[in-house]
């Protein structure tokens, strides 16, 4: 997958990327960058940290 395809896949469905140029550069420089998503562990429907 070339960096453009990876950029498209990484950003689709998002409402905001801070910043797109940084992400573009990251994908050009690294094949396996590190990302995360954090989750509060709650059974309640409304949660902080993420959804």
């Amino acid at each position: 997958m070339d960096p453009n395809e990876r950029m498209e896949l990484t950003t689709r469905g998002t409402v905001e990327v801070i910043q797109s140029v940084e992400l573009k550069r990251l994908l050009e420089e690294k094949n396996d960058p590190r990302a995360y998503w954090g989750f509060e562990c709650s059974g309640k429907k409304a949660q902080a940290f993420t959804e």
Partner: protein, 318 residues
């Protein structure tokens, strides 16, 4: 229990990143949950929920070996971690940290905010640096935490994490008339968070475990007035969950009402709905069918592994 906001919006985005080569960490924020008083701060129950989440993501198609799971409390076992928390805290004012409290789903400047809450945004930033992450993903309601992390990173010469924000799914009853609460200075974002927080109404969202008939019943009762786009959760589910891949969709419809119809894009769907060509019943029947099908592997997985779900029922709601 996990709802489709977490299961599908987060789950799909995580899979996108894994496919584009990212090493992905799913961070189980047990300490943060304790600070935020989940399950009354009971870490045992909080961890049971974290274990259950791992099963949920596996059932949604993220294979165990393709994502790394890290507990916040394990990260906090490292002494360097706490040094990072303190260093981040030195870069921001107390006022600023308090303004970030809405990331916890709490209102800004509430009088009953516990002192523990001060740690939360600083820990969230330190987590990113301790795990040496390039990209932090979250719902848009977390942007304040990420901005804080980026500013701290810049001041400390630790680099700025790229932030990727996804939409927050509307509840099935739509946006509440008046968005009550003081979560953000930006009225639009305030409304989004207020809508997320109002999910205490029964049957306001779809759980990843829901049987097809339950999904159907919830969707039938959802807010979806003919021709109205604003605040319409059904249209939003099509836009965010179905058309995220920009693939055409075959909308099934009884021959009596015009038969099946090919829809090329979300824009076309919206146009056909506003013009009255498509009826709320058409959208509801189809979204119901699509979601039932997408969640079939989850139901199958938990039929084979009922234990984590039983544990969740045993500990009750947080």
């Amino acid at each position: 229990m996990m709802h489709i906001g977490q299961g599908l919006v987060c789950g799909d985005k995580i899979q996108d990143l894994i496919r584009s080569g990212f090493q992905f960490t799913i961070f189980l924020a047990d300490y943060h949950s304790m600070i935020n008083n989940k399950y009354g701060g009971d870490l045992g129950k909080i961890r049971t929920t974290g274990e259950y989440f791992q099963h949920c993501f596996t059932s949604l198609g993220i294979a165990r070996e393709r994502a790394e799971y890290i507990w916040a409390s394990d990260l906090a076992n490292r002494k360097e971690y706490w040094e990072k928390v303190l260093r981040v805290a030195r870069t921001v004012s107390t006022q600023r940290v308090l303004r970030a409290i809405p990331i916890m789903g709490r209102e800004m400047m509430a009088k009953d905010t516990e002192a523990a809450a001060i740690f939360y945004p600083c820990m969230q930033a330190a987590d990113i640096f301790e795990m040496r992450l390039d990209v932090a993903c979250a719902g848009i309601d977390q942007r304040k935490a990420h901005i804080l992390a980026r500013e701290a990173g810049e001041k400390l010469n630790w680099g700025k994490p790229v932030s990727l924000h996804t939409p927050i799914l509307m509840g099935l009853h739509g946006i509440p008339e008046a968005s009550i609460g003081n979560y953000d200075e930006d009225p639009k974002l305030n409304q989004v968070i207020a809508a997320k927080m109002s999910k205490s109404k029964p049957e306001d969202n779809i759980l990843i475990h829901d049987e097809p008939e339950v999904i159907d019943r919830k969707i039938q009762r959802a807010f979806c007035p003919a021709g109205i786009v604003d605040g319409n959760p059904i249209l939003e589910y099509f836009r965010i969950l179905v058309f995220r891949e920009n693939k055409p969709l075959r909308l099934e419809r009884h021959p009596k009402y015009g038969g099946d119809v090919e829809i090329e894009s979300y824009q076309q769907l919206e146009k056909s709905f506003t013009s009255g060509e498509l009826h709320p019943k058409d959208l509801k029947a189809n979204i119901s069918r699509i979601l039932s099908k997408r969640l079939a592997p989850v139901r199958e997985y938990f039929r084979k592994h009922p234990r984590p779900l039983e544990e969740m029922r045993r500990i009750g709601s947080a």
